[in-house]
């Protein structure tokens, strides 16, 4: 009897790298996959791929290839290479914190150990992989791990545990519409229920499996396997005719002989055995022998053991004890040869039945082996439970942690939002404050300027009044007195010679001239019509005069006659004043100038200010802009003007500021 199961293999993932070394690695791996080549050649190719991979410098790419090579090494049963690669793959994935790759490495390990029948190790690695894939929410792979774990548990006769896992896997597969995997699960469930002797259920699941198989494109020999398994169920139910019908249906429907010779032999064996169980011995021996021959030729030992046990049973039924014992012994030795415990047990049980003489010994052996196997299985099952328990705990913990993480993240985001909101408000507020402050500054600036103007005009008024007073004093007082004196002198009777009289007259005339002069002076003192260049120009002149005292430089100040300061907006004048102040401050502080020229020009409504000194100058490119220069720049910007500074070491610095004076005030105070 043979039950067939499938262990899921993972798909090969290909990446497209175009680097030379990578190309050669890919080529070597492809060569190792080439089924036309010898196994040793393929192993050699894989070894080369491995060597090249070791030489790679980029860990992430390395990790990819380790994973592939590990997978292939497992496929090629190259144990040394596999162990080498897999340990490297796992450690590299761990250092890279590439969780998926870690899971992948565990999967490779599991598949490797599964093949080596080291079920506990295999189970452990499947579990590790399962944990990781579940964490990564890779449902498909999680389901595959569940299936593989269930598969192993089923093999260790933990059928209920296996069933639970299969159903878990099934749920996921159904969600993902993975029909082939669904088929595998149902098939395995059918096998489990057969082992549990719940035959109706087994039939139900096998039929379900076949149903899903219809949706699969690449069916392979799956239909035949399922039919075989189904037939075996009927066989166990002693429904031999149905069983034979199913077996033959599978055989007739396909040219199995060509596609899978061993499987073909299995069917022949199964049909013969079922017939034998049914009591039909016609041609049975020939069929057994036919199967035996095929299996002998393909060296399919497991199958051979089975057919030999069947033959032994057959001869026992024919009371040919010798042959029965002979086949049973051959089956046992074959089972021993491949260390197949199940076959060993079956063979021992058979021997105890056919070899009457040694029956007790075989039975004792059987019981002993069975017990020890059961103990072993139980131990391993306990191990599984422990692993699962730890996993559950781990998953719970992770979930708890992830929940905490989510809570913390949400909290952090909320706090962050609140903080940024608060920050935003604060920035907005300070901006507003800044604006208000600027406006106030502007206002106070204007106030200062108007105060300055007022003071200047007061000063001017005072000066004017004083001039008027002087003029009036001169005119009314001094002039009158001189006039009176002159006339008085004129009426004086001068006694003397002619020249004395002449001189007398000359002095009188001279007095009249003095009067004229005084009158002119008085007039000029009063007349202000010519000095309209007061206010702003005066203010600047005062400023520069004051600064020149401080800085010890001479100054020259020129203003274009065309400039009507009264018509220029206060804002412009304030800023120009500040710019000049700043520039003069710089000159005093740094320039060590002895001469400063200040010039106002007007060109088509563009006012140009030039301040030139003969100081030490500075390198305009190298030197970082000082606060003074920056202030001038920002003030010029406020006027929408242009600011330029040119400087030459030991020659001096020149500052140009130009701005438009678009103002249409008609007011003209003379």
């Amino acid at each position: 009897m043979l039950t067939v199961v499938f262990c899921t293999k993972k798909p090969i993932v290909k990446d497209g790298f175009q680097v030379n070394e990578i190309d050669s690695i890919t080529r070597w791996i492809q060569q190792s996959q080439n089924r036309k080549l010898d196994l040793s050649d393929r192993k050699g190719a894989l070894q080369k791929a491995y060597d090249y991979t070791n030489a790679l410098s980029i860990d992430s790419i390395k990790s990819n290839y380790y994973s592939k090579i590990s997978f292939e090494a497992d496929n090629l049963n190259s144990e040394v290479l596999f162990r080498d690669v897999s340990s490297k793959a796992l450690s590299l994935a761990t250092t890279l914190r590439d969780t998926f790759k870690i899971g992948d490495a565990h999967w490779n390990y599991a598949s490797f150990y599964s093949k080596k029948e080291a079920v506990d190790s295999a189970y452990y690695h499947y579990h590790e992989a399962y944990k990781i894939f579940k964490l990564l929410k890779n449902e498909y792979f999680t389901a595959k791990m569940l299936y593989n774990m269930g598969f192993i548990q089923g093999r260790l006769k933990d059928y209920t545990g296996s069933e639970v896992l299969m159903f878990e896997a099934l749920t996921i597969y159904k969600k993902l519409n993975k029909n082939i995997n669904i088929y595998q699960c149902y098939n395995y469930l059918g096998l489990i229920y057969m082992e549990l002797e719940e035959f109706e259920k087994a039939i139900y699941y096998h039929n379900k499996a076949l149903e899903y198989l219809k949706k699969v494109d690449d069916k392979g020999t799956y239909i035949e396997w399922s039919l075989n398994n189904l037939g075996l169920v009927y066989q166990k139910m002693h429904k031999y005719e149905e069983a034979i019908e199913i077996f033959e249906k599978a055989l007739n429907n396909s040219n199995l002989k060509k596609r899978d010779l061993n499987f073909y032999a299995t069917f022949i064996d199964n049909i013969a055995y079922t017939k034998f169980l049914d009591g039909d011995t016609l041609n049975v021996a020939e069929e057994f022998n036919k199967s035996l021959k095929i299996r002998d030729s393909t060296k399919y030992i497991s199958g051979l053991t089975i057919v030999k046990r069947h033959l032994s049973e057959f001869y026992a039924a024919k009371f040919d004890t010798f042959k029965a014992v002979q086949f049973a012994n051959e089956a046992l030795s074959l089972a021993n040869q491949v260390e197949n415990n199940r076959d060993k047990l079956e063979s021992l049980l058979l021997l105890s039945k056919v070899d009457i003489k040694n029956a007790s010994t075989y039975l004792a052996n059987y019981v002993h082996l069975n017990d020890s196997l059961q103990i072993e299985e139980r131990k391993i099952r306990n191990k599984f439970t422990r692993i699962r328990f730890e996993t559950d705990e781990y998953i719970d913990k992770t979930e708890e942690l992830s929940q905490q993480k989510i809570l913390i993240s949400i909290g952090a985001i909320i706090i962050l939002l609140l903080l940024s909101f608060a920050y935003f408000i604060k920035v907005q507020r300070s901006k507003n404050k800044e604006l208000i402050f600027e406006r106030e500054q502007q206002k106070s600036n204007e106030e200062i300027f108007s105060l300055m103007l007022k003071q200047q005009s007061k000063l001017e008024e005072g000066r004017l009044n004083e001039r008027h007073r002087i003029a009036e004093d001169l005119h009314d007082g001094v002039l009158g007195k001189i006039f009176g004196t002159r006339l008085g002198l004129g009426f004086l009777k001068i006694n003397g010679d002619e020249s004395t009289i002449e001189k007398h007259q000359f002095y009188i005339d001279e007095l009249q001239n003095i009067e004229k002069e005084i009158r002119t002076i008085s007039h000029e003192l009063k007349s202000e019509v010519l000095s309209s260049k007061i206010d702003f120009f005066k203010i600047i002149e005062n400023l520069i005069a004051q600064k020149s005292n401080l800085g010890g430089f001479e100054y020259k100040m020129i203003a274009d006659e065309e400039i009507h300061w009264d018509k220029i907006a206060d804002e412009i004048k304030i800023n120009l004043y500040r710019i000049i102040q700043e520039a003069l401050q710089n000159i005093i502080k740094y320039a060590k100038a002895t001469k400063v020229d200040l010039k106002f020009e007007l060109e088509y409504n563009i006012l140009i200010l030039v301040i030139k000194d003969n100081g030490i100058g500075f390198n305009t490119i190298e030197k970082r802009k000082g606060i003074g220069i920056k202030n001038i720049q920002s003030r010029t910007n406020k006027l929408n003007g242009i600011f330029k500074v040119s400087s030459e070491i030991n020659v001096g610095t020149t500052i140009f500021v130009s701005c438009s004076i678009q103002n249409k005030s008609n007011e003209y105070g003379v």
Partner: protein, 223 residues
């Protein structure tokens, strides 16, 4: 013949000089005799004038324009005294002698007082002073050189300028701010602007150029 003479001048030394002139005249001509009174301020001047109007009157007044105002504030200058004389003593001959030679004041005085003699103190010397008195006594007016020149200059535009125009030009020339003008001239700001514009057309200067207007008016003798 004896003439009653009143000399109004706050400077005693000038009053003395005028006196000397009259004495000089009587020393030249024995028939001319002058009864001279001197006052140095407005109050005294008004008292004398009022007294004389009730008695035998005054024949000639030498009037200075810039003398201290009266204590009651009614008389501000010699001009006001001149007006008072014309009111109380219509036959009296007035010789204004002033140091002013700005055209505006001279014109105002001419208009308000219409004196028989107008002397600009600086133009005057001994001979001229004596001549002026003689001329006025002979009933012919006497004007100083500067005053005559003013008459000639103004001849062309004179009739078109009224008192307010002149005042406006005058205020502009002494640097009065436009804002203050409505307080001085009995016109609104727009009225003033209008007048200014007309003046600019009259004197043929640019619309925006107040300064040229003032200079031109000065040149033409209006200020």
């Amino acid at each position: 013949m004896v003439y009653n003479v009143l000399i109004v001048d706050d400077h005693p030394i000038i009053a003395d000089a005028y006196k000397s002139a009259f004495y000089f005249l009587s020393s030249e001509n024995k028939h001319l005799n002058f009864n001279i009174t001197v006052v140095h301020n407005s109050d005294d001047a008004i008292i004398k004038i009022t007294e004389a109007s009730k008695k035998n009157g005054i024949d000639i007044v030498f009037l200075d324009i810039s003398i201290p105002p009266s204590t009651d504030g009614k008389i501000l200058s010699g001009e006001d005294i001149g007006i008072k004389i014309r009111e109380l003593l219509p036959k009296c001959k007035i010789i204004v002698a002033t140091t002013f030679n700005d055209n505006y004041r001279i014109q105002v005085i001419l208009k308000n007082v219409n004196p028989e003699g107008f002397l600009i103190k600086n133009d005057v010397n001994k001979e001229e002073l004596v001549t002026s008195i003689k001329m006025v006594l002979d009933n012919s007016p006497y004007y100083s050189k500067s005053v005559l020149e003013l008459f000639r200059k103004q001849a062309s535009i004179d009739y078109r300028l009224d008192k307010i125009d002149r005042q406006l030009l005058y205020e502009m020339s002494i640097g009065t701010k436009m804002k203050e003008l409505p307080n001085i001239i009995p016109l609104s700001m727009t009225g003033i602007e209008k007048r200014k514009k007309n003046l600019k057309v009259l004197f043929d200067v640019d619309d925006n150029d107040d300064r040229s207007l003032v200079l031109k008016a000065k040149e033409k003798g209006f200020i």
